[in-house]
Amino acid sequence: MKRIFGVALGILTAIGGFVDIGDLVTNALVGSRFGLSLVWATLVGVVGICLYAEMSGRVAAITGRGTFDLVRERLGPRVGMANLVASFLVTLLTFAAEVGGVALALELATSVNYLLIVPIVGVAIWFVIWRVKFSVLENTFGLLGLVLIVFGVALWKLNPDWGDLFRQISRPHKPTDESLPVYFYYAIALFGAAMTPYEVFFFSSGGVEEKWTKKDIITERVNVFVGFPLGGLLSVAIAAVAALVLLPANIQVDTIGQVGLPVAVAAGKIALAIAILGFVAATFGAALETGLSCGYTVAQYYGWQWGKFVRPKEASRFHLVVLMALIAAVGTVLTTIDPVKITEYSVVFSAVALPLTYFPILVIANDPDYMGTETNGRISNFLASIFLVIIVVASVAAIPLMLYTKAGQ
C-alpha cells in the first residue's frame, strides 16, 4: 500500500504542482500567440524540474530535513534570509494566483462572480490544510488533477496534422509579428511555470512528512520521472489546442474562460465540464501546496516545529504562518487585481528566484557529509551543471525582459 501512496505523491506533485494556474494560463497564452514554437521552453523546464525535484527529494530522504532547513545551515543566516524572503514572496504571489485560479474556474461553472467565491475558497483551503490527512490530500487532488488529460483527448479529436505539429516543435521559428524580446520573455515565463520553486519545497517537505528513508529513493525517482513528464505533456496539450483553435481566430488568451474554449470546440460540453473539474482540482491542489510551502519555508529557516504529521497545537507558528499567508493571498485577489495578471508575474518571478534555492540544493546533493553514498552521479551532475547555467541566465534575463517588453505586451 505504501508504494501506491508513494506514486500518488508523485502524481499529485506532477499534476497539482506541475499543472497549476501558471501552466494553464501561460501555455494557453503562448499557444494562442506563438503556436508551438515555444514548446521547447516547456520541455527544457520539465527536464529541469525532474532534476531539481529528484535532487531535493533525495536530500529529504537521506537527511530527513526540508529545503530551507538545509539552505540556512549551508549558507548561514544572512544569505539564507535573503533566500527565504525572495522565495517566500514568490510562493505567496503564486499562492494568490492559485486562489484566484480556483475562484475563476468555479465562476465558469456557476457564473457567480469570482470575487464572491474567493472567501469560500479561502475557508475551504484552510479546512483541508487543517483537518485533512496529508496522504488523503495527496491522493484526492492528484487523481482529480489527472482529468486534465481531457486536453489530450481534445487535441486528438481535433485530428491535427501531427507531422506539422512535430515540425513546429522541433524546428521552432518565431512568428513574424512578435519581437524577439517578447519571444524570449515568454520562453522564460514557460520555463518559470514549469520550474516553480514551491513544487520543490512541497515535494521535499512532503518527503519528510511521509518519513521517506533511503529505500524510498526508488519510489521518489519513479514519482519524478513519471510524474513531471506527464505534467509536461499536459502543458504541451494545453498549448497545442490553443494553437489549433485560438491562434487562427486571432484570439489571445487573457482569461481562464478562453483556455477552456478549445476543449468545447473539439469535444463538446461534457469534455469542457471535465476540463473545468480539472482546472479546479489542479489549482486547488496547487493552492494547498503553495499555502503549505509558505509555512514550510519560514518554519524550516527558523527551526520551528512544522508539518502536518504533528498535531496543529504542536506546530503553532507553522500553522499561523500558513493562516496569515492564506489571508494575504485571499486579500490580494480581493483587491480585484486580475488573477491572470498575478499568475503571469508569479511565473516570471519564479524564474528569477530559482537559482537561490537550486544552487544550495545542488551543493548539498554533492556533499558526502549530508548525503553519504547517495551524492549526485556523474550524469546527473553534468546535467545539473548545464541547468545551473540555464537557470542563472533565465533568472538574470527575466526582469530586464519584463521591463523592456512591458510584461510581454
Binding site: T63, G64, R65, D69, R72, E73, G76, P77, R78, G80, M81, V85, W130, R131, V132, K133, F134, Y301, Y302, G303, W304, Q305, W306, K308, F309, V310, R311, P312, K313, E314, S316, R317, H319, L320, L323, Y370
Partner: protein
Amino acid sequence: MSAAREFDLELHLLDRQVVDADGRMVSKVDDLELNLDDGGNPYVTAILVGPRALGPRTGGHLGRWMTAIAARLAGSQDPPRIDFGHVVDIGEEIKLGCRVDDLDVQSLEDWIREKVISRIPGSNHAS
C-alpha cells in the same frame, strides 16, 4: 562519543536543528554562549535561541528589526538559552536529553498556541 572529538562550531553546530528527546523540533542553534574556563580558554556553555540571538547574525535591517522587536516583547536583550548540559548528541541534528516543554525557550510558540491555534476547533487532531 569518541574521545575528545574535534569539530568546527559554525560548521557543525551553528544553524543546526535542535531536536528534543521526543524528536520534536525545538529551534535552530541561533548562537552559542561562551565562557572562559580557568585556563582562559572559551568553551561552549549554552545554545542561544530565538530572534535575539539570530538577529545580530542576520544583520541588515531585517536582523536589527527582528532583534529589537523580540527584545521589547520579552523585556530583555538576553536570548533564551538551552544549557549545553542538555545536549546528548552532536550529529546531523543536535539532540537534547530533555523535552522542549521542560525548557522555557519557546515563549512565542506557547503564546501563539494559547492565543490562536488552540482556539481553533480540531487543533489537537493530527492529520
